[in-house]
Amino acid sequence: MVRRPVVKKEYSLGERVYLVEIAKGLGLTWKHFVFNVKASFRKGPHTVPTCWQYPEDRREIAPIFRGAHMLQLNDKGQELCVGCGMCARACPAKCITVKRGKPAKGEEDKYAGKTMCVSFEIDILRCIFCGLCEKSCPKNALVLGQDYELADYEPEHCIYDKDRLIANFHRARSEGLLKPPPVPIPVEAPPAKKKIAQKGDEKKGSSGKASVKGGKKSASNRKGEA
């Protein structure tokens, strides 16, 4: 590394007297002061320009935010959960326990599916809010909502049972904060990709029986090069 020589700045007399520079600095601080004082008299939320006054001001949350869990009901008020336990299996933190059962006689119309969950517990202290349970749910029954103030004084209160999860859903519905239904991911094999894959195969001269995975990989590699 080449070291550049230290050049001492030559100060003019005005700069050396220092008072003019202090006056300039005072002007700068005054600008900030006036701006912030004016802003603090503004009406409405978010009055302080530099920060959010949390309990009063709250940021808007994206509709796909992953907050407190809830168990959804359908339009008829039936529970969607069938107690399949996919969420429990998908959960990397292992915080979900589901017990599957059959609805009691005469209560079939309370549930959307043929089976239901007898108990559904989520240990919110262990949950990492990754959203895999939500993704894995085949009936779109388990959803992560918008509530993010989950602190409590008792650890026992942080284990959400079925009632609480359904209550979460009711509250979100009354506040109009329900999650939009997931947009189905289009399942299609884009034709352009196939073409490239074929080209790659031709160039390599490999047999067409290459595993799907390998083919895909090479295709993506091709794409990157192009």
């Binding site: 008072l19 202090i22 600095g25 005072l26 700068l28 601080t29 005054w30 900030h32 002061f33 912030n36 004082v37 603090s40 302080v48 320009p49 530099t50 920060c51 006054q53």
Partner: protein
């Protein structure tokens, strides 16, 4: 009312006034600094956080009062009052208004019109440094002693320019009494400018102001405290209300210095160009003169805060260099010119 009763009322008034200014200043300092730095500042206790000083006071009262094991106990206890009392006492000679006539009795709005008010201020401001030095030395801590030492060195290099600047004022007005000086500053001179010390002694004012910042241990000259180098300097080992007294005394000191600046250089209670006593009643004139004085004082108090959040701290040798190599020669030249002018005109 007897005279002593009036005096007592004045003493109590100025005492509470000094306290009130100190309390509000702690709030102003924190809020204004926040505004200048694009922060929010304390805004939870009361409206606009106005009760924050009260909350701080209660907190300091409930803290444990710790005296370090190897500290010199008597001196350690003596430090904070020694620092705060001179700050309060200086208010005694500050004329905070002209006069108020109640029941045919003329009351001068000044606790006592000492004819050597000037020397009194200089003497007391020099005593205040003992509070710091003794507190710093008695705490038996390296940071404290360094803070105290710096306070001493700072005092020596700043009392002299300050004295020189004040001497020019004395030469100009020919009196040591602050009330006399303020009275002589009413009206205009050269036809346009208010008859203020600031316009007659601009250099003296600048020297005095710089020295006042050093006197009050404010940024850019807060080397005795210097929280980034010396933790908090001379009051590092203090806690509870002893620390509170130090912090409080500092703000009282600010109020005093602002009041002295206003009386010496900015015409005290007088408005420029307007003689209030002509169209105001005797009582309302007294109150108005006090308010004018307060507005001017408030500006200088705000300037203390304003400068604090604009200018970074000076290095120690820079501070000494400024005091000895710039301010003292300037003060001497200023004194010489003033003396010459006074001699030629009178």
């Amino acid at each position: 009312m007897a005279d002593w009763q009036i005096d007592l009322i004045k003493v109590v008034f100025i005492w509470t006034w000094a306290l009130l200014i100190a309390v509000v200043m702690t709030w102003v300092e924190r809020r204004a600094s926040a505004m200048m730095q694009d922060r929010v500042g304390p805004n939870r206790a009361g409206p606009f956080g106005l009760l924050q000083p009260l909350a701080d006071g209660i907190k300091l009262f409930t803290k444990e009062d710790i005296i370090p094991k190897r500290a010199r106990k008597i001196l350690f206890i003596l430090g904070p009052p020694l620092f705060a009392i001179p700050a309060f006492s200086t208010y005694a000679v500050v004329p905070f208004g002209d006069k108020i006539v109640i029941g045919g009795k003329e009351i001068i709005l000044q606790v006592s019109d000492v004819n050597i008010g000037f020397l009194y201020i200089l003497a007391l401001s020099a005593i205040a440094v003992y509070g710091m030095v003794i507190g710093g030395w008695a705490s038996n801590s390296k940071y404290s002693i360094l803070g105290g030492l710096r306070a001493t060195a700072q005092l020596i290099s700043y009392e002299i320019p300050m004295g020189l600047a004040l001497l020019t004022i004395v030469l100009l007005y020919g009196t040591f009494s602050l009330r006399e000086i303020v009275l002589q500053q009413q009206g205009t001179f050269l036809g346009v400018l208010p008859n203020w010390g600031f316009f007659k002694q601009p250099l003296g004012f600048i020297i005095f102001l710089v020295a006042a910042y050093a006197e009050a241990n404010r940024v850019p000259f807060d080397l005795p405290e210097c929280e980034s180098e010396l933790v908090t300097g001379y009051h590092t080992e203090y806690g509870s209300m002893r620390l509170g007294l130090y912090l409080f005394g500092e703000y009282v000191n600010l109020g005093t210095l602002a009041a002295v600046t206003v009386s010496l250089f900015f015409g005290g209670w007088g408005l420029p160009y307007i003689d209030m006593s002509k169209f105001l009643g005797p009582i309302s004139y007294g109150i108005a003169s006090f308010l004018v004085f307060f507005v001017k004082q408030a500006f200088f108090l705000f300037l203390f805060v304003w400068v604090r959040w604009t200018v970074p701290r000076f290095r120690y040798d820079q501070l000494m260099g400024l005091g000895w190599k710039a301010l003292i020669p300037l003060g001497l030249i200023n004194l010489f010119i003033t003396a010459l002018l006074v001699q030629l005109t009178v």
